[in-house]
Amino acid sequence: MAFQNSGVKLEKFESLSDEALHALADRMGLGIPPDLERVFVVEEILVALEEDSDERRSGGVASLRIEETKFSSSDPVDMDFGRDGPPAISPSTCDTFIRVLVRDPSWAFAFWEISDTERASIASADGRLSLFLRVSETTDGEKADAKRDFFDIPISEDDSQWYLNLPRPKSRYRIELCSRIDGRVRMLAKSRDLAVPRQLLDSLSSKLETDAAELLRLSGLESLDIEPVSDDNPQRIIKAGLTGE
């Protein structure tokens, strides 16, 4: 998670309730103990924001800042503290569904709802739900019942969204929202197939004709950091270039 926060004022955090502060820290993934004193929670948030801001400055986010300048009349710092209040738009619980949005070659954002009726039908005797997300790799034109590689991510009954790490760029995945009742798996909803984008050029590019290789070089191939690398770490995070790409 990233925030643009240069100049965030201490007072803005001090005006928040304890619950709102902890919720903000949770959203930032800080893992702060629930009984931590308020002053330390604020300090942790400020440090994390400053680190994030430094990272964004050094990470070449000039494009984002420039795009923002057209909105410059306003208060330069106006974070969305309202998020910690009750949601102004209540999510519907009429349907059971899952939807997944591809963010980049490594991550996708999933969100879902489970209808009240569905929840009642999958609850165990003590009223608890056992839920998980099943991430399956698929191929084009595959039959729905084809055997596939998959892994499961346990989720709690209060969760309604998740950032999924996708193991392989340039692949296709399907995400299923599942429950386990008495050892049996029941699929509640499934996403459409996701096409995960390429992160790097195929090794094929090394076989390009000289002219094509030179034109790719002149096009800025090196600064984009999309050439194949010798190590086999597919989760390498792309460095953001100064061009905003």
């Binding site: 643009q4 094509a212 096009s219």
Partner: protein, 528 residues
């Protein structure tokens, strides 16, 4: 044969921020500032070039929401009020610093700028800026293109063909209404491309679009001319690829031209530097400090100890930068030409508001670029449509999912600060599809209601709200825009479901969110 082509492309866009129920609304100033510092100065430079018979070519996206606001009578009236306020502040500033040899000329410069804006807007163009752009469009100097209706980041909605189609169809109708022509090109907001969108664009008879360098080079198969020639999707849609070096020369905050020490510093502004009781009466922002537009200092360097802005020296530097930009592009073209069987093309797309609003000397740089390109042998300026006509055949390749945002994909728009939007936006989209299927042939009041529902869905899909939420700028405003659009839509949905109609409420909403008067809710019907 030309040594090479340069296609300058500007994306002029602002989100729909019209708030007629308030006498003054802070976010409406985004429009007033862009008019004063970007759009009107650009039109002035076009007029000067035309008067001197200096040829120029520019491709410009005027986004549908921007066109809605530029054609709006309420905002036009308010803009004149804004200019009167700026002129009053300029007079006060001349009184305050008029005798100062460094700051006096600058205070007068701002007075002249706002006076020119007022004369142009009220007298010359009679408040019709779109007609002013259209004049140069018709003369072939500008090629006007359009973009998604509410600047939606389309890769997010790739699973909903109806939502993507609605964004495109509404934009095309709005463009035809404003300019009487079907646009050849389509600006993908934030250059957000995904494989498959070519089918939708082609279905609407779009001839070309532009992608980020990353997406183009990662295309399948790899484009053999790199970014120096467009590619063509199998269905014939031409895709231009952003030139990385031309982008960085202008766009980079650290090494780009706008960071030159001689240029005007954007951040030092009397709205923050002078006592609130002095500037406050001109800001209409209560006790909030905001940018006033009156800035007296040069970038100088990474120091708080800024030097006074020297306009003459800055304009000379803009001319030097224009010369340098052309020389660098020409050198690149010569290198690339050695490997190509046609003149290389460099496509340089930027946000229009960068020029003048953020980079004060930007319009002068563009003007110098056109003047130099006209008198010096070398690169030929071209619009993207002209290039398509000159080179209709290109390598077949489909770009990869990409954008010009931070990281190169969708990181900016799917982030912990804004991801909550999509649950609601998709729900609205799904329900809108359902409504258009349930009521395919309505007329009268019910059709008006359905059309307003479609407007609210499109507003909820705007990418600017996600950008602002992530940036922490006007975030509470952005949040409210999404909440209001979704809440309005939900209310309409409930009204239609229960067969009760709040005529007064819907009429009020139509007057408030009055964009896209020719919208047709049926565009949300399922594609069969």
């Amino acid at each position: 044969m030309e040594p090479g082509y340069l296609a300058l492309v500007l994306n002029a866009h602002l989100p729909f921020v019209r708030q007629p129920e308030y006498p003054h609304f802070l976010e409406e100033k985004w429009l007033f500032e862009a008019l004063s510092e970007t759009y009107l100065p650009l039109l002035r430079l076009f007029r000067r070039l035309e008067a001197e018979e200096i040829p120029f070519r520019l491709t410009i996206n005027l986004s549908p929401t921007l066109c809605s606001m530029l054609g709006d009578a309420v905002l036009g009236e308010r803009y004149l009020g804004y200019l009167d306020g700026q002129l009053a502040l300029a007079r006060r500033e001349v009184e305050r610093v008029g005798s100062d040899p460094a700051f006096g000329p600058l205070a007068r410069l701002y007075g002249e700028l706002y006076l020119s804006d007022r004369d142009d807007f009220a007298v010359l163009y009679e408040r019709d800026i779109l007609a002013a752009f259209d004049y140069f469009y018709k003369k072939g100097k500008l090629e006007l293109i359009t973009s998604a209706a509410t600047h939606s980041f389309l890769p997010i909605y790739r699973d909903s063909r109806e939502a993507v189609s609605a964004q495109i169809e509404t934009a095309l109708v709005a463009h035809r209404r404003a300019f009487g022509k079907h646009p050849s090109g389509f600006w993908l907001p934030h250059l957000g491309w995904y494989p498959g969108i070519e089918e939708v664009l082609h279905a609407y008879n779009i001839q070309y679009s532009i992608v980020a360098t990353r997406g183009g080079l990662l295309g399948d198969p790899i484009p053999k001319a790199g970014s120096f020639a467009p590619v063509q999707c199998p269905n014939g849609l031409t895709i231009f690829i952003r030139d990385a070096a031309a982008t960085e020369a202008v766009w980079s905050e650290d090494s780009g031209y706008p960071g030159d020490p001689l240029y005007r510093d954007f951040y030092r502004d009397i709205g923050f530097d002078l006592p609130l009781d002095y500037v406050g009466p001109y800001m209409d922002a209560g006790s909030t400090r905001i940018f006033s537009g009156f800035k007296y200092w040069a970038v100088t360097g990474k120091t708080a100890d800024k030097k006074p802005y020297d306009r003459k020296a800055a304009l000379a530097r803009a001319d030097e930068h224009a010369a340098s930009f052309l020389a660098d592009r020409l050198a690149m073209a010569k290198d690339a030409a050695l490997c190509m069987d046609r003149p290389p093309l460099m496509v340089a797309p930027y946000d229009a508001e960068l020029f003048g609003h953020w980079w004060f000397e930007g319009p002068a740089w563009i003007e110098a670029l056109f003047r130099r390109a006209a008198r010096e042998p070398g690169l030929k300026l071209i619009t993207l449509g002209e290039y398509c006509r000159a080179y209709p055949e290109n390598q077949v390749s489909v770009p990869e999912f990409s954008s010009w945002g931070d990281g190169g994909y969708a990181e900016v728009w799917i982030d912990g600060a804004n991801d909550w939007i999509y649950r609601h936006a998709f729900k609205s989209v799904d329900r809108m599809i359902e409504l258009s299927e349930r009521f395919p042939d309505e007329s009268g009041l019910r059709e008006r209601i359905l059309n307003q529902a479609a407007r609210e869905v499109l507003l909820a899909m705007g990418s600017d709200w996600a950008l602002l939420l992530r940036a922490g700028k006007s975030a509470s405003f952005a949040r409210r825009q999404v909440e209001d659009a979704v809440t309005n839509f939900n209310k309409i949905y409930e009204m239609l479901s229960s067969n009760t109609v709040g005529t007064e409420w819907i009429t009020k909403l139509e007057k408030r969110n009055n964009l896209f008067p020719e919208i047709n809710y049926r565009m949300f019907r399922k594609k069969r």
